[in-house]
Symmetry: C2
Subunit: 333 residues, 2 copies
DNA sequence: TCTATTGGTTGGAGCGCTCTAATGCTGTAG
DNA sequence: CTACAGCATTAGAGCGCTCCAACCAATAGA
């Protein structure tokens, strides 16, 4: 378990430690003969370079830190895929961490990532206060994904939630719906733009909006439908704040004897893997998650390379994914 | 962006670097006066210790590496929660990484984790060949979660899949079912014990087993039901290899006009968050995922502390979660 | 022939920290 | 008044690596 060092490899290959260092970094200015000797010795000893010693000595880092606020949410898995693809392309490694949506734990997670002195830090939908983000940004380049910020030192990558909900409303209107309600995300991070988008789209179509208070869970979606039922008149279409909420809404509708989409159309938001299940087959709004990750990584790497110091604000276009929970009012023709 | 070092803090506090080091490590042998001066200086400078320099100098590590084979699967999120809880308790940090279920990428991920010289390494359901695991185990303590191994140098944490499926069969039999089929996981990691468990349980009850080839996806579950339909006689209950498979099976059953659980009962495996959705409400087998993580972390820390060198093999008891997809044959009374 | 030039190679300093051994400084006992 | 604990504090070496400047052929140009 005691691992060989460069010195050991150098001794075995009969060269200096500096030469081994050059070989390990793939320098061209090494004769083939020596290179092979070094590689052979390294192989025989099972040597692999010590990342920390390397970055300590070079005063540079080839590591990007990623704080995922919620590992349970597959949304972030795809963002990480995008980050990883770009990072790997450019010779960077990712180290990931999670805050479990608890500010305290998240703060610890960010501290822990910073203690590795990463070249950059991606915070995926962080819940820590803005001050904590600022202090991290004083120490390294920071990009925020799925959270906006006015800090001039951080980059951000978000989807255009206003536009996304607009797509949902347009789709329903084009099917002939006029009584379209919105199940609102309440305090959730992205619920404000989504609500704005709903109101704007309804107004643009000359329709009367109806916002029902709800939350980002399936239980909340079901509860909101109960409220709608008690209220009397059921709309012919529901635009939900996210997929979980939509699924809850659908099950409550079905329990109450409504058929989806025959009697009521339902649209979700996020295009989670859930929505694609044939048993669910939810019409929803897709966010380009992989692209989020790619752009976040690129933003970080641009700063690392010193190509840019101005903050960048990416606002990506969501898209509509039509499945089987929307139809013309009165049922599919 | 140029960060202060211990030297800077020492100068500001008017003490030596060694004393700052003692304060940072919470040593008791520092006078309160100096301690406060140091903490104040550190605070003012925004100093935080450099994890790599620290572990380089101390030749020890307070980091556990975690390789998650698939970040998209929420199963692992809970395992990570367990790992994190125990690690944090004992002053260890987690660094996570993912292999995206690709052996090549996974290998890179493990290499990257090893380059940080972690105190231990947890591999969650790795797909790399056993040789790669062995070579990692030569370099640090390794624990495998949701993958078994005969390597004498690694610990393992698994659920007893045989017993889990047994619980499902027992449950169905107690409801009065006799024609119970198993949708098999094919090449999947845990499908062999699950199949064995099914066969053993059926035999124990004196029933005729029926294994249908399938896979760990909802599409495969639906396809297996199609095969069953073409085959003629539909069983009254289905024990599926996992939750996704079960959901696919359910939707295919419903499309074919069967009611679940009225005509056919369905049991999943894994108790994913999916299963708990009211729209799905799937009877399934729960694995103690959080416990997986806790035990994995403890196994690692035992080795780190040198308390144990013999490998440990944890085989945890799964449990049955009854929801709304199982009932007496012919429908709930 | 002598000086540049080039390409391969090396020693040594130093990155930010920890750890050991040694230092200075009380206070108490002999 | 010396001796010796016992404690807080510090200097210095060293962790595994990178980087710089220096070095040493071997070749090219004058």
């Amino acid at each position: 378990m005691v691992r060989p060092t460069m010195e050991d490899v150098a001794a075995r290959a009969g060269v200096s430690r500096a030469l081994v260092s050059l070989v390990m970094r793939g320098s061209p200015k090494v004769s083939d003969q020596r290179r092979n000797a070094v590689l052979k010795a390294a192989e025989e000893l099972g040597y692999s370079p010590h990342a920390m010693a390397r970055s300590l000595a070079s005063r540079t880092s080839h590591v990007l830190g990623v704080m995922v606020s919620d590992l349970h949410n597959a949304f972030f898995a795809e963002v990480v895929d995008g980050l990883d693809a770009v990072a790997a392309e450019q010779g960077f490694d990712l180290i990931i961490n999670t805050g479990g949506r608890s500010p305290a734990r998240e703060r610890r997670a960010v501290q822990s990532l910073l203690s590795f002195r990463p070249a950059g830090l991606a915070l995926l939908s962080p819940v820590v206060p803005s001050a904590a983000i600022k202090s991290a940004a004083d120490q390294t380049s920071v990009v925020l994904v799925a959270r906006s910020s006015r800090l001039s030192t951080v980059d951000t990558v978000n989807d255009d939630g206003e536009r996304g909900i607009g797509l949902a409303v347009d789709h329903l209107v084009s099917l002939g719906h006029t009584r379209i309600a919105h199940l609102d995300g309440g305090e959730g991070t992205q619920s404000a733009p989504r609500r704005r988008g709903y109101l704007a789209a309804m107004e643009a179509h000359g329709l009367t909006p109806r916002v029902v208070a709800s939350e980002y869970t399936d239980a909340a979606g079901a509860k909101a439908v109960q409220a709608l039922l008690n209220d009397g008149e059921m709309p012919t279409a529901l635009v939900c704040c996210n997929d979980f909420n939509a699924i809850g809404a659908i099950s409550a509708l079905e329990e109450a004897g409504y058929r989806v989409p025959h009697d009521v159309s339902v649209v979700g938001y996020d295009n989670t893997s859930l929505a694609a299940l044939r048993h669910v087959s939810l019409t929803t709004i897709d966010q380009p998650r992989n692209e989020f990750g790619r752009l976040a990584a690129e933003a970080l790497l641009q700063r690392v390379r010193g190509e840019r110091t101005e903050p960048v604000r990416h606002l990506l276009h969501p898209s509509l994914v039509v499945r089987n929970t929307t139809a013309t009012p009165g049922g599919p023709r």
